[in-house]
């Protein structure tokens, strides 16, 4: 028998709980279906005792279920209590596998074979997805595990770890301390993991500590017997193989919920995994009567999910509800001095700015919520050339003056946008912009803009085209109008290269010029059979200029040093540009002859090439500023670290014991302030920001989720308790910094407060990293505290110059 409800809520995360609780209070017949045995599986999986934050602070909570910042345990117990108090009808162990039917008559099937009927469905299943399983014959939970809580609890076993990502490697290495471990990789190399982890596993395999089966996929497991071990068989490149093991730990990642959601009929705008389902302003998906809320709808924080749970029930019941953010938007629009309603202003924005016209209104609302609205007075500075800011501006009214170099400023008016160059390339601003008459601007942060571009193909296309146009104009033909350049720009190509990919090779026919849009490239020359880097070219510049003059062979190899995008213009197309612009040929010829001379003088410096190669491997190709220590000047005094700790809540943001050394150049573990910071990518409260000076820093609204720590490829972010870290002056003067001596234990990166002080109950571990001392008047404390001049913070341009000065 199937039961029928007015509302079925799928997923008992914060969003689902809130929706079900509201339905229960209103005495609407409802059911809450949760696949796991307890509420809020995502929160259950946070680390024990985690302090959960209630960001964004300014957003009010609108829900029957309580939520304020506190420990994970406290919040979960409050939620359990609230479920009971409100009389929510919840079913645990109820995993939804399909949803069919239409508004008024949905049929929901569960994995346990039951069916539920409902008039409307609220989908709040989050984005964690399902863990991938081995899916082989003989698999059972007492032998195959998908999680490893405490590696030290297992000793003296033969263990198979299946997988090649970070989790698999970390588990395998930790288990190998006390066990015999074989790691099973279905490919012939480890490529998906972080560099640090790849190095770790390769070293362990080389030393024989861990055995590795490459090109191998588990195909079956023998049934349990009296033996403690079972036989696992594999299909490998050379046929079948078997191993006897005590247990298998499979870390195969999670299947994102997207395909499941699509199977319900919900549409997405494109194939990009980052794109979000198409929703109305009231969270209704492309299936009428099926609503999507919470993380799955693109709202990454708990409070947002809970508010939407409440609102969506109101909507289903046909009541007019102002979203919880209404007052915030009203406040925001006050600067504009208009009497129009929030909805009217939003509609006007979408109408008057073509770029936003196709954006779905819900997403647009969110975008504006993240944005700032400005009404600058005439002549006011919006941003200066060479600032490192990367927000995006659209002009709602009036105009702005864009001052590129000394020429006449470009006037840009209503409906246009600017700031996309820095947004897309991560580079400094290429022009100064001032407000014109009656100017009204919308400033959108980079993260919100990227979210938009991932979902709205039309917007991305417009932006890409404009980028190519403006970059060609700025680089080659400032005198020419956009219209004149249009045909040339539309024939230009946008290319993307992975780190290490060759863009063109020495000796190739030179046929096109590449403008580097983001990332950077290294220029290499053959030297005794080896490719040695001679130089490095950053985004905003071009390479391969000989290509457009015709008749040349490539004189060097150009390779992407990090993930890089270029705009390429071929010779034929460039000829049109030359025809339009008299001086351009002379300018390009000059650059060509300059580079030819450079190549000559660089020829002899093999050592310089080696250092450059090393630095590029250290990720300096995407750095804007990096701490280098000259080992032949460093006296081990650690004053740099002490200075950093003392000026930053007692935790040093640089680790001098870490990092690699080549010749005498040491790159200690410290932030590189990347052009396109990986750490920013996945920060729920958007706490990582970039200051105008280029400093990437973490704001106070960090919720301590640890995403940035995982995303930074250079391991420079730590999770730490705030502390005072004050040291005794006299002690430090007479005893100095203790160096680890007779301690054969690995000398960990122990921070003063991590080592000793036990955390106070109220303290939460937050992400900390170098902020380049942007709040100190004199600049980087570490550099200023070094007594010998060993420590220095340099931009890539400076270090390339340093190297050539030293060695050429």
């Amino acid at each position: 028998m199937t039961e029928k409800y007015q509302i079925a809520v799928v997923g008992a995360g914060p969003g689902g709980l809130s929706a079900a609780a509201h339905a229960a209070t209103l005495e609407v017949p409802h059911v809450l279906l949760e696949k796991s045995p307890a509420v809020a599986d995502t929160i259950q999986k946070y680390q024990k005792g985690k302090h959960v934050m209630a960001e964004p602070g300014i957003l009010p909570l609108r829900s029957e279920v309580p939520f304020a910042q506190g420990t994970r345990e406290h919040i979960l117990s409050e939620w359990d209590q609230s479920l009971a108090d409100n009389g929510v009808n919840i079913q645990f162990g109820a995993e939804v596998t399909s949803i069919e039917g239409a508004k008024g008559d949905f049929r929901i099937s569960l994995s346990n074979g039951q069916q539920v009927q409902a008039e409307a469905v609220v989908l709040g299943i989050g984005v964690q997805g399902n863990l991938r399983t081995l899916g082989v014959e003989g698999e059972s939970p007492d032998f195959v595990e998908y999680q490893l809580d405490d590696p030290d609890a297992i000793t003296d076993e033969t263990i198979l770890v299946v997988g090649a990502g970070d989790a698999a490697i970390e588990n395998a290495v930790a288990l190998a301390e006390h066990n015999r471990v074989t790691i099973v990789n279905r490919r012939d190399e480890f490529a998906r993991a972080k560099d640090g982890n790849i190095a770790l596993i390769q070293a362990a395999i080389e030393s024989g500590e861990i055995t590795c089966l490459y090109n191998s996929v588990p195909s079956g497991i023998s049934p349990a017997s009296d033996e403690p071990t079972r036989i696992v068989s594999f299909s490998t490149a050379d046929g079948e193989a078997t191993v006897a093991a005590n247990r298998v730990i499979a870390r195969l990642g999670a299947i994102p919920p997207r395909s499941l959601v699509e199977s319900f009929g919900v549409e997405f705008p494109n194939k990009d995994p980052a794109s979000l389902p198409i929703l109305s302003t009231r969270y209704e998906s492309s299936v009428e009567g099926l609503y999507v809320i919470g993380a799955l709808a693109g709202y990454p924080l708990i409070k947002q999910a809970m508010n939407q749970g409440y609102e969506v029930v109101e909507t289903i019941l046909g009541r007019e509800v102002q979203p919880a953010d209404h007052d915030l938007l009203e406040d925001k629009f006050r600067t504009l001095g208009t009497n129009d309603s929030v909805d009217d202003v939003l509609a006007r924005m979408q109408r008057d700015i073509p770029l936003f016209s196709e954006v779905n209104p819900l997403m647009f609302r969110e975008l504006i919520l993240d944005s700032k609205v400005h009404k600058p007075s005439q002549g006011e500075l919006i941003f200066s050339k060479n600032d490192y800011t990367n927000s995006f501006y659209s002009i709602l009214q009036g105009d702005v003056r864009i001052e590129v170099d000394s020429g006449t400023p470009i006037i840009s008016g209503q409906g246009n946008f600017f700031g996309e160059l820095s947004l897309l390339s991560g580079r400094r601003r290429s022009a100064t912009v001032r407000a014109g008459d009656h100017c009204e601007l919308i400033e959108t942060p980079r993260k919100s803009m990227n979210k938009l571009l991932n979902s709205v193909a039309a917007a991305k296309k417009v932006l890409d085209e404009t980028f190519v146009l403006r970059v060609i104009q700025g680089r080659f033909a400032p005198e020419l109008s956009i219209e004149a350049l249009q045909p040339i720009a539309s024939a230009a190509k946008l290319n993307e290269y992975q780190a290490g990919e060759t863009i063109f090779s020495e000796g190739d026919d030179a046929d096109a010029l590449h403008l580097i849009r983001s990332g950077s490239v290294s220029i290499l020359k053959q030297y005794e059979g080896k490719d040695l880097p001679m130089s490095y070219v950053s985004a905003g510049n071009y390479v391969g200029e000989m290509g457009v003059l015709g008749g040349y062979k490539r004189s060097a190899t150009v390779r992407a040093s990090v993930k890089t995008q270029t705009v390429s213009i071929d010779a034929d197309n460039f000829k049109k540009l030359l025809a339009l612009n008299e001086d351009l040929r002379a300018r390009i010829s000059e650059v060509v002859s300059g580079r030819l001379k450079d190549n000559m003088s660089n020829q002899s410096s093999e050592e310089a090439g080696g250092v450059l190669d090393f630095l590029l491997q250290q990720g300096l190709g995407e750095a804007t500023d990096v701490l280098l220590i000259n080992k032949s000047l460093c006296i081990n005094c650690d004053n740099c670290e002490t200075a950093c700790a003392q000026t930053h809540d007692g935790t040093s943001r640089l680790n001098r014991q870490g990092g690699a050394i080549f010749a005498e150049v040491h790159v200690p573990t410290s932030c590189r302030h990347c052009e396109d910071p990986h750490c920013m990518k996945d920060c729920p409260p958007d706490a990582i920001q970039r200051a105008p000076g280029g400093e990437v820093f973490i704001g106070d609204n960090c919720i301590g989720c640890g995403n940035c720590e995982r995303n930074c490829p250079y391991d420079v972010i730590q999770m730490a308790y705030p502390g005072s870290g004050e040291k005794s002056f006299w002690r430090n003067l007479f005893l100095g910094e203790a160096q680890p001596v007779s301690n054969p234990d690995p000398v960990k990166w122990v921070t003063p407060n991590d080592a000793g002080a036990s955390p106070q109950a109220s303290a939460i571990k937050k992400a900390v990293k170098c902020d380049m001392c942007k709040d100190l008047s004199g600049g980087p404390a570490c550099v200023r505290a070094c007594p010998t001049g060993a420590a220095n913070r340099l931009s890539p341009e400076q270090f390339v110059q340093t190297i050539s000065e030293r060695l050429v």
Partner: protein, 289 residues
């Protein structure tokens, strides 16, 4: 871009130091006095005042170095000035004495000051020599990485001894445990290896450079008739050799790092002692005047 404290700003402090020394010398030589030159003449007073002020300022480096928020110059600039003006102090103070020494507090103050200055000069020499040697010795690895490597090596050894005879297992594990990297400071300074090992019939033996345990393993290998065990022992031998080299590199790292900073043990306390002695010297001079 990497400009050391010695060439900071094209050696501007060296130039000031030379000027100061020159003025002091000219002033000293140009005196036309009925008595032998000493600290009580007009020039003597002037030199004494400059020297005393210099000493106070030189000591202030210890404070400035720890004012991490200060943007009053950089510590590098301060060190540069400290070193060059410190050398000028030797000349200024020596001229101030007029070469009149005796067994009194005045000469004590001078001797203490000279000790500080001479240790400082050793320091500058150490700073320009040892960092280079340290980097050369550790082959591009920080100490933490060297210890990490040692731990890795030990892990492999422990794994291997699981496959050999109980007794060998015990000896080898014992050798790992009794490895000393320099528990006593003097051992660290000399890079002395006091490792030992407990052998079945010989008791506790010296195990410098893992030699004794290696000899023991060779003995085991000779009498071993189980091929798989022999192979394990052979690999143990290789690992022990690697471990010995790694240990000596760590010891050398510790030794060099200590030599790099040992002079501060004299420089800092004696700086304060000298300052105190100078204070007494000044008071004494004014009382007995």
């Amino acid at each position: 871009m990497f400009e050391s404290f010695l060439i900071h700003r094209s050696m501007r402090w060296l130039r000031w130091s030379l000027v100061l020394m020159l003025i002091a010398l000219v002033g000293y030589v140009a005196q036309d006095l009925p008595v032998p030159r000493n600290g009580g003449t007009a020039v003597g007073y002037a030199l004494g005042t400059v020297a005393a002020l210099l000493m106070v300022w030189l000591t202030w480096l210890g404070r400035r170095k720890r004012n991490y928020r200060s943007s009053f110059g950089t510590v590098k600039g301060w060190t540069s000035a400290h070193v060059y003006l410190g050398v000028a102090l030797i000349v200024v103070a020596t001229l101030h004495t007029g070469f009149q020494f005796g067994a009194n507090v005045h000469t004590l103050a001078f001797v203490l000051m000279m000790l500080v200055c001479l240790s400082g000069i050793y320091g500058v020499w150490a700073y320009s020599r040892y960092p280079f040697k340290i980097n050369e010795n550790s082959k591009g690895k920080m100490r933490a990485a060297l210890f990490e490597e040692l731990k890795e090596e030990d892990r492999q050894i422990v794994r291997l001894v699981g496959q050999v005879d109980q007794e060998v297992d015990k000896v080898v594990r014992g050798a790992l445990e009794r490895t000393e990297i320099g528990t006593r400071y003097i051992d660290q300074l000399l890079g002395k290896d006091r490792s030992s090992v407990q052998l079945p019939d010989k008791g506790l033996c010296d195990n410098r450079d893992m030699k004794t345990v290696a000899d023991y393993l060779v003995g085991v290998l000779d009498t071993c008739d189980n091929p798989s065990e022999a192979e394990a022992v052979q690999r143990l031998l290789t690992l022990m050799g690697r471990r010995a080299r790694l240990l000596s590199r760590i010891r050398e790292d510790v030794r060099l790092a200590e030599l790099l900073r040992i002079w501060l043990i004299i420089h800092i306390p004696f700086a304060f002692a000298a300052l105190a002695a100078v204070a007494i010297h000044v008071v004494a001079v004014f009382i007995y005047w």
